[in-house]
Symmetry: D2
Subunit: 479 residues, 4 copies
């Protein structure tokens, strides 16, 4: 157990990375359902490290095991043996703070009329508050502050219409970004994507059965074949009758979160036929064309910009180097350093290669700047050891607007690019120059056809595809 | 974590003790509410060792901490500090088996219309199934299989009548045995006892505030003064306006579980002015009169019959001895003994004092016989070391009927006294003689006036005070 | 892990009980040696709860597993499987404080010339310091501050004489109280008792092999038959040639620690043919004759004096009662109570039965008074609830001298009986009267023939059987 | 705790990486000695993950805390507070298997004549067996099977000459590779390097005091300034009198382990003025000249060859890519995959970017091939997804000889390069071509002057700088 005098790096870090919400995995009727879901979640661990859960429907009831922390810590073989075979759904959730957090671990299981339902959700409902008010008025009580719970209340309220109609009626009431997998105690596995298609969810085939997953890298690990992405507004029901697709009213254009390409997804995943690694490298190439600068080397700062940095190097001919070395053994908690150890949270994770960098002109590639405080510290570290010129190139556009669909950016007041000009940012960060990739550049380098009509880019330009209640800016309903 | 090759003594033991359900503690508005609740639960630990939880209402919201295991293992100081002050309710739950058991730990917290409610429950609703069907028909979904959840659904459904009326309407719908403490996010603490008064719940005063507890031993530990028992059917609301009592329709006679006197309660607790220790000793005295026998010594077998054994000795003049020595360090789990170690589960806990017992005529005092297998083994151990005659005297009547109000006796088929005559039992157990205390003897030795109209004794004579659905024989609704 | 804000009851308790050092168990060549040693230690757990270890010699090497805490916590099945069969020795150690304590857990294993040796020790060497100085002068280095390590250094230094001669030469150098079991990587198991026979050690037979144990209760659990006690100064070598006995120079009289009879040993154990339970009851009977007083009831205070209280009651005819109820779920660590909770460390463990005690004249039976502070608190608790007269009778003589042979009494300055008269103690403790059992009474009630020449009673009368270095008053060599 | 059904990746992996033994850190007289040592070990964690320990000498005694696992798991703030300030030495140890492993955790602390000594060791003594025989003949006993213990025995045996002379006499007796830090209870910190200088150890200055560390990256983290490397055969004594250097007989040439440059050391560390990152990149450049081949891309395979791959790309002009994506959340233990999941241990850690690699000619850069089985699996994975040609270039020479100085390579029989020709290896691994860097190429690309006389390269050419006992091939003396 983390000791109370330990501190968490997340809270030490004055400038956290944007964080996705969740990863989903589901599988229909397999004798090793729990185990395959475990492996699927393993591959999706980058989408959430706070908590994880697996629910399995076997023999007319749903068993679940959940826990705080990483997939490799939460489960052991007896857990998976106990969960056993059947149909399964699994979830990984991102790290947040707050009390009683195991309560919020998913999948979320409820009981109704001798049946049980489990739901695993990725996204944010912008009308969760009004739906909740309506449900409470009719006597519903809530166990959690998660919007995922609203989904199950609506589903059950409409079950008298029949299961499929209830699904359609439920989805019709939801507004916002949502991909979710529903599991019934009868063993059906249902994948649902919102009408704008904000969050990823794809269908795969594993021998004679089907799986659902947030990213193709999970299909790869369990050796399932990619079949297709779910369409915006699609409901896919996997049962012993095979795969059935229900269509709800889709939005006129897709609004896939472009941040999946820039940052969230694993580089070995593929969306809409476009590989993430190649898209990130294309970002870097485009960036080299949009914002060239002469320098001795180009380097990531240090990790998430690696692929764009390779692209920048290949386009510009400036050598790619790895000038900051990461300590691979940094744990999640850390003993408080002494007062005298300055900038410790930066230095414990990274150490620059002095001999490589001293006296050089360098280009550092970032994929995003949120508050800018971490970047500022790192630039200072480089300056202190004698780097001559530091140019920063960002492989995405400037973040000027908060996300209302579930990405945990800071509020607008904290977004440095919403409050400072490029010139002011350059000075604040201690740079010689700073350039962002253009929105056009980003869209084109994804390789997707007609990108203008396929991506949500509200965090860059404020064009929100779905209206939201201005008072709701977080992904959970903190009552 | 218990290793999978370890075995649990409960499962090793072929003849488990009857087990109570729960202990409750609540306190209104105190700066150390969480800590005092912790101590209250500590004193009530004998009522349940499976799981425990504390919920505190401070600053308009309810925080809770729950865990599997003993009070001393589940909480540490940071937990209590985090829960802080305000009003609180706590719960200890008995050890059962089954999946996803942390889910069933109480208090149970729900959210509704910007308020939260926590409930801690001791008892069993006999109409939980039909209430649940009705609620589900109207769209309610259930998180657990606990009947405590039904209470909260009903409460919320009726809130439009106002809070007090909703409480009355809720209690009016419930049938069975129930004492519960309800906590609201506004800080009110409500104690509720069913119309028959099956389960204990009393009110105490701690300086300027009030507490509720299952037994007076918890009042003693937190140094609260006993005020009074709740009446059957009473609702006590503790708020900043003091203590307000609402009365619902009480049953014509009280049906307090007489097993609290025989076995469940701590001997230093007092119900209706009668101390449990003295009642148990009186049982033993009465037993000596009802079933005298000549012997060299009288001894408990070994622990739970101690007080009755002292009484038997005092009445009969036969010396009291402690002939079986308990190992005080027996843990909950144990490494599987080797095949060659016979009767290990009996012997590891107890070792007879050979020098005291060899060649003697002895009387052993038990408080109950459920299946009889443990008693049989222990009697054999005594015979093996050379005890001459073994007489058993049981300080309660024979168990012939299952409990439908929450006590986890075995089913009727497993109750030895329901299936064998006294003669057959004497033979089966390897005794020279066997006598049970009469029902009259038990009732009179409690010291309670008009005992005929104050106790449920259905497990002895099958007269169930409240009708029950024959299909519901356990305290949880295993759907 | 105990949280740093938790406090340990031992340190809360202002008046700790005297504590023995250790329990020993050994077995020669058995396919389940590790498992049987585990069970033997289980039965001896009352002799030490700080740490435990098992070492097994199989296949020419010694494997060991040790840990802090109780036997039931330290080992699991994989540990025992890994240790496997062969010959084994095990140890339980009492709870003390101090740094790097796992280092001091026994058995202590060393390697020398392709052989290994493990030793488990119970006692205290009074000449450990001078032996250590001598060994260090010759270049020996020490891993611990335990005197057990001295034994092994001496053994190895003398091995060139041959193994048996080395054993004899080693024992000849040791002064003080010591029973130990030595295990060699060749599988021999050697039991050794000091010339005065201070500490217990007995030989048992389990089918075709032999075991050694501190108390007969361990033989009972593994179903071994008691063969005999080791004699003072005896060395017993168990090997494939059977049991061989070597005799060293014994002291003219035996000095068995009489505190084993009063307090340390389990009541179901037997020494020199006298059962401990019966001896303690005889103490009580003698006490009733030596110090009679009229009263309503006699009670233990509450646990360790139980057997003497039964004896007192039987002799005096005054009823035996259990007036203080122990909470059986008190854990080892506890959350700090609030300032306002007075006498908490007393009350959390015990609650008096008010209805039994109020207005009564009572006799409380203790087995020893060390500092007196706990007794004082408990007496006050009784007075506060309205007990009329409180007489204390102690089932042993007054402790006026420290033990130099390994019992962790307080220093003389802290022993209340060394510093106050009976009258002063009576006043200090708040009693109406106080009487100790006489030394003669104690000796006679053990039932041992010629008790004058069989017991060490230095803590009562200061007659130390073995000279000691006045600067060494603790059982470990704190360098 | 790892469940017994879990498996460890190290044991799953059929082709483990070569593993270094240890990392060392020491600091003289600092109020935060324990904490700074903790941070120093954090930076050196890559040198050993099995166990770690910190010993602090304050107030004339040495306190230590050790544990199995990572620095971030073993210590918490209370541990460091308890260790406190003074002088300190710390150690990280590599992961091995075997029983009673905590016993082997360092620093190793012993007591002698009211003083204590702690030693932390990196290396392997080739004459440990004969030294041990000699010591045992004189009566020394050993607690562990570590050669570090021999050092302390020798030191103490010679102390009558005085401390410095004893150090010199001790070092004169040791043969093999050894860098160690010795701490005395008087607070002196002594760094010692063997006459050949096999293992790294350097001196740094932190404000007014001095530190010792295996690598400069540890100096960087605690913000100490690099002073100098210890010379071969040098003894550095840090005391309140400053730094004193004693010289023993150095070997005619230095034999620094060249594997520090290729694999062990962190790339941000520097030895003899040459940065490791730059040396590895130079290896890659040299490799591109020695073994050019036409291809579409060059990539690491995937991690340890990154720096050489960058060099190869820069020299050849072939684009650098990261074609295999590592799952950053792979834990140390893993649930056994199902039978049907082929090559799981390879795939769970790595997933190739199919879209990047399909149909391409690629060069993969490895830094070493031990058994070749992992490489074979990975090459097959690439072939399976449609890579056209796979060329492997190894950034070091072929391993044909075992290390006798402490590096845990496989035995000669397991070294693929010792048993197969390049042609056979190419076929076995499924490659289109395979080339190793030449020894000359490696030596020159370190950038060290006169490299022929500065490095041990016995694992490549069998020229062992120090004679060894052929029967001793492991770094511990498994008696």
């Amino acid at each position: 157990m983390a000791n109370s005098t330990d501190i968490d790096f997340q809270t030490m870090d004055p400038d956290p990375r944007p964080r996705d919400e969740c990863g989903l995995f589901g599988i229909f009727d397999h004798p090793e359902a729990a185990q395959l879901t475990y492996f699927g979640l393993y591959a999706l661990q980058h989408r959430g490290q706070e908590s994880t859960g697996i629910a399995v429907a076997g023999d007319q009831e749903i068993l679940a095991h959940k826990g705080m922390g990483l997939v490799s810590d939460v489960y052991d073989m007896p857990h998976l043996d106990q969960l056993g075979g059947g149909s399964a759904v699994g979830h990984v959730r991102y790290s947040t703070t707050g009390s009683s957090i195991l309560t919020n671990a998913q999948p979320f299981v409820v009981h109704h009329k001798h049946r049980s339902y489990a739901v695993a959700h990725n996204g944010n409902l912008v009308n969760a508050h009004s739906l909740k008010d309506e449900l409470e008025e009719a006597g519903s009580i809530f166990q959690t502050t998660m919007d995922s719970e609203v989904i199950l209340h609506l589903l059950v309220k409409n079950l008298h219409y029949g299961f499929e109609r209830s699904l359609l009626a439920t989805v019709a009431r939801l507004k916002g970004a949502f991909s979710f997998i529903l599991l019934t105690s009868q063993g059906e596995v249902i994948g649902i994507k919102d009408p704008c298609g904000f969050r990823p969810l794809c269908l795969g085939k594993l021998n004679d059965t089907y799986v659902l997953a947030s990213e193709t890298c999970a299909l790869d690990l369990v050796q399932a074949k990619f079949v297709r992405e779910l369409d915006p507004g699609e409901i896919v029901i996997i049962s012993k009758n095979g795969v059935k697709s229900l269509k709800t009213q889709a939005a006129p254009t897709r609004s896939f979160c472009i941040f999946e390409f820039i940052y969230f997804a694993r580089p070995d995943s593929t969306f809409f036929g476009q590989n993430v690694y190649l898209a990130r490298k294309a970002n870097g190439r485009r960036l080299a064309r949009e914002a060239p600068v002469d320098a001795d080397l180009v380097m990531p700062f240090p990790d998430s910009g690696s692929y764009a940095a390779v692209g920048y190097s290949q386009e510009s001919g400036i050598p790619y180097e790895m000038g900051m070395i990461r300590n691979h053994y940094v744990g999640r908690t850390f003993i408080q350093p002494t007062q005298s150890m300055r900038d410790f949270s930066v230095r414990v994770k990274l150490n620059p290669v002095k001999e490589l960098l001293k006296g050089k002109d360098i280009i550092i590639i970032e994929d995003s700047i949120i508050r800018g405080t971490t970047a500022k510290s790192r630039v200072k570290t480089l300056r202190d050891l004698g780097v001559k010129r530091v140019h920063m190139r960002v492989s995405g556009p400037a973040h000027r607007f908060p996300c209302h669909y579930g990405i945990d950016f800071s509020t607008r007041g904290e977004l440095i690019a919403a409050n400072k000009s490029i010139k002011e940012m350059t000075d604040f960060l201690g740079l010689d120059s700073l350039h962002y990739l253009s929105i056009e550049g980003l869209l084109e380098s994804t390789g997707i056809k007609d990108p203008e009509n396929n991506f949500c880019r509200a965090c860059f330009d404020g064009s929100y595809p779905v209206e939201f209640d201005a008072s709701v800016t977080r992904n959970c309903m903190d009552t």
